[in-house]
Amino acid sequence: MNNAIDISRMRDPSFTAEVEAQSGQKVSTCYQCGNCTAGCPASFVYDRQVNQIMRGVQLGLKDQVLNSRSLWMCLSCSTCSLRCPNDIDVAAVMETLRHMARKEGRVTVPKVEKFWFSFLDTVRRFGRTYEIGTMALYMLRSMRVFTDVDLAPTALAKQKLGFKPHVTPNGGAEAVGRILKRYEERAKREGVRP
């Protein structure tokens, strides 16, 4: 059996075009120097390196790219964009891919998305975040025990973690709630995953 990627069949130029359009970046200018990978602080937890993601986009290999774990591990630090010799905003491409993946329901690293949702839930409820709330929600969602349990004593002692939710005083929380609600409604209307 041949496991090679059949490029002639799997290549999807419209995917490349879509990424270029959404990110505003011309992916074809990438010549695979690897500088993005070289500077990436998250490189060692990626399943595909940034330059390989870029290559996948160039080739139009949508599944390989959108199913990659790397999209979810990107820290958005923009080091790749900063040092790209072809001035590609690689971080924007990564973010675009993440949005595309999410909207199609491809969430390869659910814990990351769960963390985001926990965070946004806090924001929705209180208008602002507070660490304990986010963590609690995250633990509930990810079914993981307190990941940073070793830090808790120090953090608590130093009052590093807010126990009280910070609530916006004058109806801001409600306003934020409405923003999130409208966003979710619109996403549903447009058929994407909120």
Binding site: L75, S76, L120, R128, T147, L161, N170, I179
Partner: protein, 309 residues
Amino acid sequence: MNFAYYPGCSAAGSSADYEMSTRAVCRALKIGLQEIPDWNCCGSTPAHAVDTELSAALCVRNLDLAARMDAATVVTPCPSCLSNLKHAGKRMENPDFRARVNELLDNPAAETLPEVTSVMQGIASCRSAADIAANVCKPLKGLKIAAYYGCLMSRPAGLMQFGDPENPTLMESLLAACGAEMVDFPLKTECCGASFGIPERPMTAINSGRILEVASNMGVDAIAVACPLCQMNLDLRQKQASKAVNVFFNMPVLYYTQLMGLAFGFDPRELGLHKLCVSADPLLQKLDGLRREEALAEAKAKAAEGGNA
């Protein structure tokens, strides 16, 4: 000089010390910080990781409130908030994007949104090195300090306008004005991985470890930071980082405002130094020692002069 002020969520929690010291320093420098009433979370990484328009909507609500205060400039201490607010402001220049964002908001955003900048740049924009030095009563002279900016403050360069994105020097100039000896810290803009501190701990620890390692190799007394996430990462998670790179650290990680505050003569508690996980006490003792010696030497010199006279 007055700025509209966006403290950011961590100001009330993990970076209460940043908040305390920022307010103290600005008070000393007679810079007014008018908190945007009823501000909300900028959405941080999760919001923009989920959707750009959502992220912008959360930010624009704050900018719109600031616009209603007739503020020309909003300052914020947190680079993450800064980045989000700036991105949102920039993107709102695109009419299509603006329309989409307005759909999410209660009322359409003001046509002209205020500029956003960091507190650090806000200070530098209206106070010269001499102004700062004039407030110093306890110079940091003799303290070797590495300035660490993290990844967000200077990037993307075009948007953030924070000097050379590889080698910003603003924090150095502020702290140098307070007398500190600033080392040329090569990893000043490397990412510490903090935004994944919760879901992806090992990655964060390794990145932080590298930063702490080079800093301690350079023999600095402390790392100065400007980002609540970086601070939490390098300070609270210092032990995790130690484990990850197998080197023991005992490196105080202070907000630059705390250092400035010390130089301005504020009480360490007023600056929230007690909230640091890696204690700054040895640092404070060293500083007191240095100043004492200096005073002694000066007194001696004076005495000698007087004797001659």
